[in-house]
Amino acid sequence: MTTSTLPRKLFQLPFSRAFLLWMGFLAVLLVIGFYAAIQVLLKGLVITNLSDAVPWGLWITIDLSAIALGAGAFTLSAIVYIFGIKRLQPVIRLAVLIGFAGYTSAMVTLLMDIGRPDRFWHPWVFWNVHSVLWEVTMCITIYLLILITEFAPVIVDAKFFDGWTRLRAFGHALHKFTPFLAVLGLVISLLHQSSLGATYGVIKSRPIWFKPSMPIMFVLSAIAAGPAVTVGVAYVLEWILGRRTIPHDVLRIITRFSGVGLLAYGYIKFWDMAAVTYYGSTPGVSKAFSLLQQHTPYTFSFWVGEVILGILVPAILFLVPRFNKNPAAAVVGALSAMIGIIVHRWNVTVGGLFVPLSYSPGTVFELPIGSYTPAPIEWGVAVLVIGYALTVITLAVRFLPLFEKREH
């Protein structure tokens, strides 16, 4: 009996003014977002700034980023349940929650991005096993189911389900499958986190995409940055709630892991760059990069966004002991790594499409270099997705026992 009342007291977060204000802010985001989404559904993608030359843009960037930033769930689950580092257990619930928010956000974005949202279920029925995108769709669906199963015990522990003993017992029974789910989740996640990169890497006709390092860089950056996001959120929640959520030594281990992961990602990125642009450069690739350098802020965003903010700054903040102990540094590092991921996904998607296709055998004709700036309506849908993710996290923190110590 004591176990069911004590934690709740600990966790009471009243509907304070600040909380209501925050909910009001989220409501504004959602209203703006829903308006934009309905406009897109009614009028079609013509009201976006996407075109036949640049058919993927902001939404695909959000989709890729949300999945990468949700990677903390599978990485930390694997660390705890497969590699047996049980010390990190207290972070799992939060990591799974963020994963859930990330993956569902990605699905909402995808639903808006496809021309026929009414046919969203087609990949599940009409299989094309040769398509990377089909594999990604299947994996993301399966992984979302895994996340829901992993999170079910937390949901049934909510106060709301106090009377539902059978449901609660079922939810807790699901928890017994956690190690199995962690293995399945690891396999499925390694698959789709990489194949999101392969989506670009297998396209032979696009010079800056076609390389085998694409999936590796996607999966490595996700494994590195995902857990960092979880840590950042944990510290921020601690400031908001005014109490310890997850032991700091646990968070510090995770930031260190993240730092090492980022360095590994940086190493692959360095060699990728060296191989593609220096040692093994081909005319097509050189031309593509010089076009991007001339017409877009690609060089700046690559060095500042992807390398400095995405790798160096967080790696230093996560690994240097003085900063590693500092929650503020961890939050800044997590934000920085997040920006790095988003800029990388944008640069890959939009940068790759900016480089025009060349198929004419003559000497003159060239398709114009692509141009794309997201339309206000696209930002509106982005606001919807961000508002949605924040709402999910807020409600879960408010109503679910995320940080309780429970014996399992």
Binding site: L50, W56, G115, S131, K204, R206, L357, P361, G362, V364
Partner: protein, 282 residues
């Protein structure tokens, strides 16, 4: 105290019973047996596919398996005058968005600086990148070499557009049901339905004419009724259509008697459209 701790640790780490070992061994043995069954054996979802590919004479990666016909085109760059009739007839016949034509004609220059015109339908690759990437098989190879779209299945993800090396695919960004087609009726009348909003579309080699023509016993590429609109309208005969599998067809003979090339052949797309270069070379 310390020894106790050590003992406790040891106990927690190693706890393999004989039963566990047997279980692991059984699982390993099971996997070894299951692996070939699932990958190449009768239980494999891929088994049938591989078999089919190995049997196909024109094996091209995951590409098309050809039947009796292989529809293809020869475009003679030496003859093309850049009048854009093909583009207009195509846009009228297939009721295409005039601003985003399927068929394009572009002025080009040879390395010597002389102008020629490159026109480009869908190349109907036998190893088509668009077919490989489509997550729902909305675009697929037909046995006669055509790469076609199932507009009822397409989800509008636009991955095919991104994968096509030739910029041959067009997305329906908006509902076009009220839009006027400036090329109708001067250049032809629509013979197919307009595609709905939100799907990707492309040149079909006027598949409706080929299929209807064959049923009537006509020969596509010879009988005008069964031949693509762009080929029929060309005032200089720069476009020739026919069966690449038939050595007596005009396309086969042109390919046999002329130097030809295909666009970006190095990508291995195995296109069904051949180009005869300008006489002076490219």
């Amino acid at each position: 105290m310390t020894t106790q701790k050590k003992k406790a640790k040891k106990k927690a780490v190693v706890e393999l019973t004989r039963g566990d070992v047997l279980k692991i061994a059984a699982a390993a043995a099971g996997s070894i047996i299951a692996a070939p069954l699932l990958t190449t054996g009768p239980l494999s979802p891929f088994g049938q596919l591989k078999q089919g590919q190995l049997e196909g004479e024109n094996y091209a990666g995951h590409g098309a398996q050809l039947g009796q016909h292989h529809w293809g085109m020869v475009v003679n760059l030496d003859q093309c005058i850049g009048c854009e009739y093909c583009m207009r007839a195509c846009t009228a016949t297939n009721d295409v968005n005039a601003e985003e034509p399927w068929n394009i004609v572009i002025p080009e220059k040879t390395s010597a600086g002389h102008t020629f015109f490159l026109s480009r339908p869908c190349l109907h690759c036998q190893n088509a990148p668009c077919v490989e990437v489509c997550p729902v098989k909305a675009t697929y190879h037909r046995e006669d070499g055509l790469v076609v779209m199932d507009y009822d299945r397409c989800i509008g993800c636009r991955y095919c557009q991104i994968a096509c090396p030739y910029d041959a695919r067009r997305f329906n960004w908006e509902d076009r049901s009220d839009e006027e087609n400036p090329y109708v009726p001067a250049w032809g009348t629509p013979e197919v339905e307009r595609r709905p909003r939100g799907v990707v579309e492309k040149c079909t080699f006027c598949i409706h004419r080929i299929d209807a023509g064959l049923e009537k016993g006509l020969k596509p590429g010879v009988d005008r009724e069964a031949t693509p609109a762009c080929v029929n309208i060309c005032p200089v005969g720069a476009r020739v259509f026919g069966d690449l599998n038939d050595p007596d067809s005009r396309v086969s003979q042109l390919i046999a008697s002329n130097p030809t090339f295909r666009l970006r052949d190095e990508l291995g797309t195995n296109a069904s459209v051949y180009y005869i270069p300008p006489r002076e070379g490219l």
